[in-house]
């Protein structure tokens, strides 16, 4: 699983990467996930259902991230423009 963060002037950066089945990796992913959310970002997991339809799900806790998710994308919170 990779935790990606959108960044102005750069595109996405990898903030953490690891195997959720490996305890040390999972702990690092959880800590990074919490830090990014605490910094005010939103987190979403892109998904594809059986019919091939693409969508996303917002996650507010690492336990909400599907175990087989390949990536979580962090991006700035929406604000009225």
């Amino acid at each position: 699983m990779r935790l990606l963060r959108m960044k102005p002037g750069h595109g996405e950066i990898v903030v953490a990467e690891g195997d959720v089945e490996v305890s040390e990796d999972e702990q690092r992913l959880i800590e990074t996930f919490r830090r990014e959310l605490d910094s005010g970002l939103w987190a979403a997991v892109p998904l594809q259902d059986k019919s091939g339809r693409r969508r996303a799900t917002m996650v507010r806790d690492f336990s909400e991230v599907p175990r087989d998710a390949e990536r979580v994308i962090f991006f700035p919170r929406a604000a009225g423009g």
Binding site: M6, G11, A44, F75, A78, A79, G80
Partner: protein, 192 residues
């Protein structure tokens, strides 16, 4: 002759003032004992291009080939509105760094504009603005994950507040042609 010289002198003074203004402001700040204002980072077109390229790859990998081709060929993405697998009878046009527009497909009727931004408070290169494709992806992620939440965060306006309604209807026409042909609607590829 005298008038010409006076005008040239005035022009020189104005141009010199503009050229020296940033340095003068920093010196003035130092004399006042304050810290000089940080110089704005230079805009680097190469960096921005690379960022956009990276963002496009991420967008492509998330939204799928059809929506990616739509963005590449037309410069925006259309997303069906409503929660669940059944179409709700309306859709959204997602533009980079412009409001999301809700409309009724087939009728070309515009419903509303949702003005929303994703400002990055860290401003890593002096700007809080995501690359275009990242802005589109952020809207797509939020809209497909939690439509109500995004709509709730946005400022809703009647069509025409920020985007010309005729231009949006033109985009819907281009989209319909694009979907009908399975090819770019015209040669005016805006996002390539």
């Amino acid at each position: 002759m005298a008038a010409s010289l006076a005008f040239a002198g005035l022009l020189f003074a104005v141009l010199a003032g503009q050229a020296l203004a940033p340095g003068a402001r920093r010196r003035a700040a130092r004399l006042r004992g304050g810290r000089p204002a940080p110089a704005a980072p230079d805009f680097d077109p190469g960096r921005e291009r690379r960022a956009e390229q990276r963002a496009r790859e991420l967008l492509r990998s998330c939204v799928g080939e059809r929506e990616w081709a739509m963005y590449r060929d037309l410069g925006f993405i259309s997303v069906a509105g409503g929660i669940g697998p059944r179409p709700a009878g309306y859709a959204y046009l997602i533009y980079p760094h412009r409001p999301i527009v809700a409309y009724v497909p087939g009728e070309r009727r515009l419903l509303s504009e949702y003005c929303v931004r994703f400002p990055d408070g860290e401003r890593p290169y002096g700007s809080d603005r995501l690359p275009d494709a990242d802005d589109v992806l952020a809207k797509w992620l939020a809209l497909t994950a939690d439509e109500r939440c995004l709509v709730g965060e946005a400022n809703m306006h009647l069509p025409g507040r920020q985007i010309d309604p005729d231009a949006v209807r033109g985009d819907i026409t281009r989209l319909e042609r694009w979907e009908g042909a399975g090819l770019p609607a015209d040669a005016n590829v805006r996002a390539a």
